[in-house]
């Protein structure tokens, strides 16, 4: 159950609403495909009843497989959404940043696709944990993904828009890096510079630094000396 003392602010509610809208849209699509497959089975049954065409067992098995595929997609999405819903249950706790990145990537898959951006997550080589409120950390990671997509979409050129997320190699200095493959973007000085973003970074005890071979990325790093 969500902890009533940890109710998100308006910005947090907006974040929750954005991801909920994307997830429910996906769920509707899964249901639509299941519905059409059920309809196709009805069509086949009607044809067989009329004696015109007997039901092809291979066709029936194929439809069943297609329905199962959509049920699996929906099940995966619901599990992610359930974990997201429980991110408000506890106050500060030790949180696995890789797990949180994968959760955001899964839930925001549709949004990222809408930006025409490809997201790759490089597995962490060492445990990458931080003491934080899970929901705030998810919100910050989502803001970073959203910012990366916006930068890529504002960068001229027809190149593939790719964001690669990786993790720091020192477990004592946890960090998540977002490397943008398409050129060096401008506007780094104002990255996460709004009062909302600064407040969010402060709540998670993190700061932003430039990263990448050509300065074409940024990392969210734990602020030293803070718990």
């Amino acid at each position: 159950m969500p902890n009533p003392d940890l109710v998100p602010d308006r910005d947090g509610i907006t974040f929750f609403g954005t991801l909920s809208a994307a997830v429910t849209h996906d769920m509707k699509n899964f249901l639509a495909i299941i519905n059409e497959n059920a309809g196709l089975l009805e069509d086949l049954a009607a044809g067989a009843r009329n004696g015109a065409v007997p039901v092809d067992p291979r066709k029936a098995a194929l439809i069943s497989e297609k329905i199962r595929k959509q049920v699996n997609r929906a099940d995966k999405m619901i599990k992610l959404f359930n974990r997201f819903s429980h991110s408000m249950d506890h106050a500060q706790e030790s949180v696995d940043m890789e797990e949180m990145v994968l959760l955001v990537a899964g839930l925001a898959e549709r949004i990222i696709r809408h930006h025409d951006v490809f997201l790759t997550v490089t597995p962490a080589l060492v445990p990458c944990r931080i003491q934080a409120h899970r929901f705030d950390l998810l919100n910050l990671i989502y803001r970073a993904v959203e910012t990366s997509c916006e930068i890529l979409n504002n960068t001229p050129g027809e190149n593939r828009k790719q964001v690669t997320i990786s993790f720091g190699s020192d477990p004592l200095v946890p960090e998540i890096c977002f490397i943008l493959d398409t050129g060096t973007a401008s506007g780094w000085d104002t990255l996460f510079d709004t009062s909302k973003d600064r407040a969010l970074l402060d709540r998670v005890n993190m700061h932003v630094k430039k990263a990448g071979p050509g300065g074409n990325g940024f990392c969210l790093c734990k602020t030293p000396g803070k718990q």
Binding site: L31, A32, E36, Q70
Partner: protein, 142 residues
């Protein structure tokens, strides 16, 4: 004659199953997985109706609707959406959508809308031709 439909959705599984069921009902169906591809297809092919997802990556349904209506004003466009609100429906209709249906849509209802869309398109094309003839006659006469 059967209705010729362009089905546009970014969900490939949805495109496959819908086109199969629509073809089984005698329609000729072509598919596109983005609005950009649909617009490109419209340059070389003619359709009676377009059935298009409201929200897609790249160009969304509303923008695509505007572009298609600019390119082919007579074309009838039925939008599909996960959640049909009154506001969304009004917005779509204002730009020229023929209808807006909620997913999962009833195929028989959709087929009826497509049939109706074809009739409306034919009436519009007839009217356009009449106007053209009137214009030519006026120019010759005047």
């Amino acid at each position: 004659m059967s209705e010729k439909v362009l089905l546009v959705d970014d969900e490939k599984d949805f495109l496959d199953i819908m086109s199969e069921r629509m073809q089984a009902r005698g329609m000729t169906v072509k598919t596109a997985d983005s609005a950009d591809k649909a617009l490109a297809m419209l340059e070389s092919e003619s359709f009676d109706a377009i059935v298009m997802d409201f929200k897609m990556p790249g160009m969304d349904g509303i923008q695509a609707l505007k572009n298609i209506k600019n390119q082919k004003p007579e074309l009838q466009i039925i939008l599909l959406t996960g959640y049909a609100t009154v506001e969304k429906t009004v917005e779509a209709m204002k730009i020229g959508a023929t209808d807006l249906l909620e997913k999962p849509a009833d195929l028989e209802a959709l087929a009826a809308k497509i049939k109706q869309a074809k009739t409306e398109k034919m009436l519009l094309v007839e009217k356009q031709n009449e106007d053209k003839i009137k214009d030519i006659l006026q120019r010759i006469g005047g």
